[in-house]
Structure formats: C-alpha cells, structure tokens
C-alpha cells in the first residue's frame, strides 16, 4: 500500500517557483500556504499582498486573490484593503527586509501602531536579493555585499536594524516572534509561529508579524548548506529567536 506522506498545499498554484536553490522564500511560501490550509481558512476569504523584492511574483504562487504592492507599501495597502473587507476576510502581507525595514519602515511601524488586524510575514535574509546583493538595513556588521564590498562598517553604514525588537515596543503590536529556517526543527517552529500569527488575525486580535531568518545563498556567496550554517552560527547570535510581543490577552 502506498501512503501519501507529503504533498503540496492546495493553497498554492502549480506555477513553478523562480527562487534560487537554497533560498528560504520557497520554505516561507509553503509554510504560509500550509498554515492557511490547516486553519481551514476558505480560499474565497483570503487576499494576500506581495512585496517588491524576490517575492514579487508571489501573486503567481498563492491560489488566492493577490495584490502586488509598491516597494515597502504593503502594510498601507493591506490597511486600506482590510478596512474595506472587514474581519470576515483574511489578509496576509509578505515582505523582505529592504521592503519592510528600509523603504517601508514608516508603513510597518504605523500599521503595527494602529493594530491593523493583518498578519505580516517578514523575510529577513540580510540582503537585497532581487537587485543583486546590495546591503540591507539588516545586513550584519562585517557582512560583504555589492554596496559594502569590504564588509558593513559601523562608521560608514551604522548598525543593523532589529525590527522585531523595535516593533514589540508598540502597544499596537499584538504578536511578534522571530523564527529561523536553518534546519527542520526550526522550520517546524516557524510554522507554529506563523499559525499563531494567523490565528491572532482570525480572532480579531490585531497586528502580528513573524520575522523569518532566511538564507540567500546566491547573494551571500555560499552554498545552500553553508548558508544555513551561517544563519545558525552568525545570524541568530545577533538576531535572537523568540517571542518579542504577545499582547493577545490584552486585546
């Protein structure tokens, strides 16, 4: 007897993903899809928002209504959308670190402050993937990129931005957690975190964001395996995993 032990979530289309080998975007897409499916959210009640960045084509991958937002503006687009659709519909936002922590810093802060009832999945890969590996606001000190060729330097570039810690300060932020994708155990934890965030919205408790530490082997110049080791050894020490805000009982 054959038994199906794994299959693609029905929340995803059949479009082939364009992500590089070893990139965490594909993992994040799958986790989002599985969480929506396992929470039994009706496909007809979901609208997703894709960012500008490597995830720009996400509107091709999720088998639901999708909006492609301008660079960094997804939380504002989600605000307008959700205010119209109301709490009967589920709105998820997907953003990279250049998108969320740099050009869209204002939008994410104020969406959190307003406690918009949306769920944000924040892919922190410490680099601008789509444009070819420039320094991101989240790039580590010493990290080499095409615009910090000798490594990120405090004097020249300042310090990396810790968005989860920052946003957790806001009373409007209901649930904020940082997770990682560097091994199977952490991917499972990441899935639980995303599910918690989605439930937060389904229970009308307001703004949630899950920061997903992610690999970009192509622009880090590492093999996929080495990239995962880099997350474990170098990224997590600067960006510790854990829950930074949990105000679900107050909302």
């Amino acid at each position: 007897m054959e038994k199906v032990v794994f299959q693609k979530s029905n929340m995803l289309t059949d479009a082939p993903l364009h992500f590089c080998p070893g990139c965490s975007h594909g993992i994040a897409n799958r986790l989002i899809a599985e969480c929506m499916e396992e929470l039994n959210i009706d496909k007809k009640n979901i609208v997703g928002i894709a960012p500008v960045g490597c995830a720009v084509f996400n509107y091709n991958y999720f088998d639901v209504d999708m909006i492609e937002a301008a660079h960094g503006r997804a939380p504002a687009v989600a605000t307008g959308l959700k205010r119209v659709l109301g709490n009967d519909k589920f709105v998820f936002v997907y953003q990279g670190d250049g998108d969320l922590a740099s050009i869209g810093a204002a939008e994410i802060i104020h969406a959190a402050a307003r406690c918009e009832n949306i769920s944000v999945v924040f892919i922190n890969n410490g680099i601008y993937g789509m444009t070819g590996g420039q320094m991101a606001p989240t790039s580590l000190l010493g990290q080499k990129s095409t615009t910090s060729q000798k490594g990120r330097d405090i004097g020249r570039n300042g310090y990396p931005v810790k968005m989860s810690e920052m946003l957790a300060q806001l009373d409007g932020a209901t649930y904020i957690e940082r997770v990682s994708t560097h091994d199977a155990a952490n991917v499972r934890k990441a899935k639980q975190a995303i599910k918690t965030a989605f439930k937060c919205q389904l229970e009308n408790k307001g703004f949630s964001m899950i920061e997903v530490l992610s690999a970009c082997p192509t622009n880090w110049g590492l093999t996929p395996v080495k990239a995962m080791e880099h997350i474990k050894n170098d990224v997590i020490p600067y960006y510790p995993l854990g829950v930074f805000a949990d105000r679900r009982n107050e909302k």
């Binding site: 009706d42 496909k43 007809k44 009640n45 979901i46 609208v47 928002i49 720009v56 084509f57 509107y59 088998d63 639901v64 209504d65 999708m66 909006i67 492609e68 937002a69 301008a70 503006r73 504002a76 687009v77 989600a78 605000t79 307008g80 959308l81 959700k82 205010r83 119209v84 659709l85 519909k89 204002a106 939008e107 802060i109 104020h110 307003r114």
Partner: protein, 352 residues
C-alpha cells in the same frame, strides 16, 4: 426641497464626495486642504465609512490602492508638496486601472512654497507627475458649486473608465465660502459590481491587482489599453466653457479661480466696447484642444491671452491646440499673488 447652504469649499467637497459614494478616506494634514480630512474624520463614521489619518501621503495613496482594489469608493486629498509624495502611488493606481479620486488644493511652490493660491501643479496633474506613461481625468472647478458637482460625479467616471479622477483645485477654492446646493446621496447598492476586485476568489477565478509585467509585448499591450481609455475620455469627457467667444477679437484662456477673474475682466472690457471672450477648460486632461482649434480659425480673432498663477504651464497645451494659427500671449502671477481683473484689463489693452 433642498436649500442652498453657505459652505467652505473643502467641506462642501468632502460632503459631495460622501454623497457621491465615498466611504473610505485616507489623508495627511497639509494646508490649505485640512478641512477635507477634518470633515471626513467626523462625517464618514456617521455613514458607515472609514477615515484614517495616515502616517504620510505615501501611505495615504497606498491605502487608497488597497481600498480601491477591494472595490470601494476611496479618496485622498492633499496639497502640492503632499501630492508630490503621492506620485508613486498614483502611477501604480493608474497602471493597475483602479478607480479612485484624488484632490489637490494647489498651493504656491515649488519646494515648501506657500499656503496661498497658485496653479503650478498643472504639468504634474496633466502630463504624468509619477513615472511612466499614464494620465488621469483632471477637473478644474472654478466655483464651489462646480467643485461639488464634479466631485459628486468623480467616482462614477472613475468607475466607468477605471481611471483616477483628479480634482485640480486651488487654495481659494478650498478656503472660500459660497452658497451651494448639495446633491442627494447616491444609492451604493445600485452601482455596478466590480467583478475584478480582490475581495476573495471565486470557484473558477482569481483576482490579481498588479502593475509588474516582464513580457515587453504584454506590457506594451497594457499601456496601449490604458491609452485606448484615454482616447475614450477625450471623446466623451472633454469639458469646457466658451463665454462670449463668437465675435471675440481677444480670447482669454484661464481655468479654476483665475477664470473668474478673467470673466470679470471680460465683462468690464465688453462694457467698454472691447470684443473680448473667455475660454475656460473644465477638464485639462483631456484638454479641449479641438474647441480651441476651432476658435483659432475665427477670422475676427486676433490672439489668445493665457493667464495662469504660474510662469506658464497650460499655455503649452493652448499653443499645441492653436498650432500657430494665432498668436498666444501670456500673463501670470506667482508665489501666492493673484492678478486682479484690472491687471488683466490693462494687459488686454496693452498697458501692461
């Protein structure tokens, strides 16, 4: 029977928008349009709508993008520096062919400029402003009643053509009080359904709001489709007023607040026996080029005199329409200064 009410321009416009179906408003404070968001913040909740004071104009226009994607009648308003910040979003909305309304109560510029009346945003409103090939349906009200009537219709036009309807007002239109007759509330349940809206997929169809297209032929097709719409606008929606133009030897050309000053000048000059008329575009995109072209063929006409609160922007469209058939002269004030009818009379008489 409804009666005329004395209202400030900004408030009358806000009420007219609500009566025209606006239920979502996103904006950021800037003078001289503050009464619009203020009025909306109090009034929209009364009619089951939603007001958000956004963190910036960039966010406001993107909230409009989201609300319009969901099929709602959404609007934002601002004044010149804030409108500059909205240009990115305006380009996206125009390309995604989302209907919405944007109001600009123009102030003096460039830079931070001044809060007083000016017309320096004409190019931005009619020639693009944001990046890429796109246009908006641009109205230029000259009285508060006209502003009310145009805003009331603005959402219908936006929905019909899937374009941005843009009100190119000015500080005077926003701040002045005039008696207005407010129209009845539109019945939102009777509006055509927006099948394309991202309100959740159907069994067979996904809705996608997107402006990215990496296939050159497809993107070219998208842009051609937008320009087909603009041709329709040109055909069906071009609006203007001709005042005493038939026998005129000189035709003043002005829009918005300035057109009222020009009308006074025309009346006074006519009283002195001079054959002067006024051409007033009501839409500046599409520009009434055919009507001006026809006027330029009048044998009695000696010249056009374009007058604006800028160093000369609309004059370029007038010149294109006149196409060399008659001289086109210019008189402008700037920096928040406004010409008087006497100024215009002296210019017409060649004294200035």
């Amino acid at each position: 029977m409804s009666k005329k009410k004395l209202m400030k321009g900004n408030e009358a416009i806000a009420e007219a928008a609500i009566r025209g179906g606006c239920r979502y408003f996103f904006g950021y404070p800037i003078t001289p349009q503050n009464e619009i968001p203020e009025y909306m913040s109090a009034r929209l909740p009364e009619v089951g709508g939603c007001f958000i004071q956004s963190e910036s104009e960039v966010s406001a226009i993107n909230m409009v993008y989201g609300a319009a994607s969901a099929g709602a009648r959404a609007m934002t308003s601002s004044s010149s520096p804030g409108i500059s910040l909205k240009q990115e979003g305006i380009s996206y909305i125009a390309t995604a062919e989302l209907p919405c309304v944007v109001i600009n109560m123009v102030r003096g510029g460039p830079g931070l400029g001044t809060i007083f009346c000016a017309q320096g945003d004409y190019f931005q409103a009619t020639k693009g402003g944001g990046h890429g090939d796109y246009h908006m349906l641009v109205y230029t009200p000259s009285t508060i009643q006209e502003a009310v009537d145009l805003v009331y219709e603005a959402f219908d036009k936006a929905d019909q053509y899937r374009v941005i309807t843009y009100i190119l007002g000015d500080a005077t239109i926003g701040q002045m009080m005039e008696p207005v007759l407010l129209p009845e509330f539109k019945d939102l349940d009777k509006l055509p359904k927006k099948e394309w809206a991202t309100t959740g997929r159907t069994d067979t169809e996904r809705h996608i709001v997107n402006t990215l297209e990496m296939n050159p032929d497809k993107l070219e097709g998208m842009i051609k489709h937008m320009y087909h719409t603009y041709d329709e606008l040109k055909k069906n929606e071009t609006r203007y007023e001709e005042y005493l133009c038939d026998d005129a030897e000189i035709i003043l050309c002005a829009y918005g607040t300035v057109s009222r000053i020009a009308r006074t000048a025309v009346n006074k000059l006519r009283a002195e026996g001079m054959k002067v008329g006024l051409f007033r575009p009501i839409t500046v995109y599409p520009f009434p080029e055919e009507a001006i072209g026809k006027l330029s063929e009048h044998n009695c006409l000696k010249k056009f005199l374009v007058t604006e609160l800028s160093e000369g922007q609309m004059i370029e469209d007038v010149k294109l329409a006149v196409n060399g058939r008659k001289p086109v002269e210019f008189f402008g004030r700037n920096g928040g200064n406004v010409m008087t009818s006497e100024d215009l009379m002296s210019v017409v008489k060649g004294e200035k």
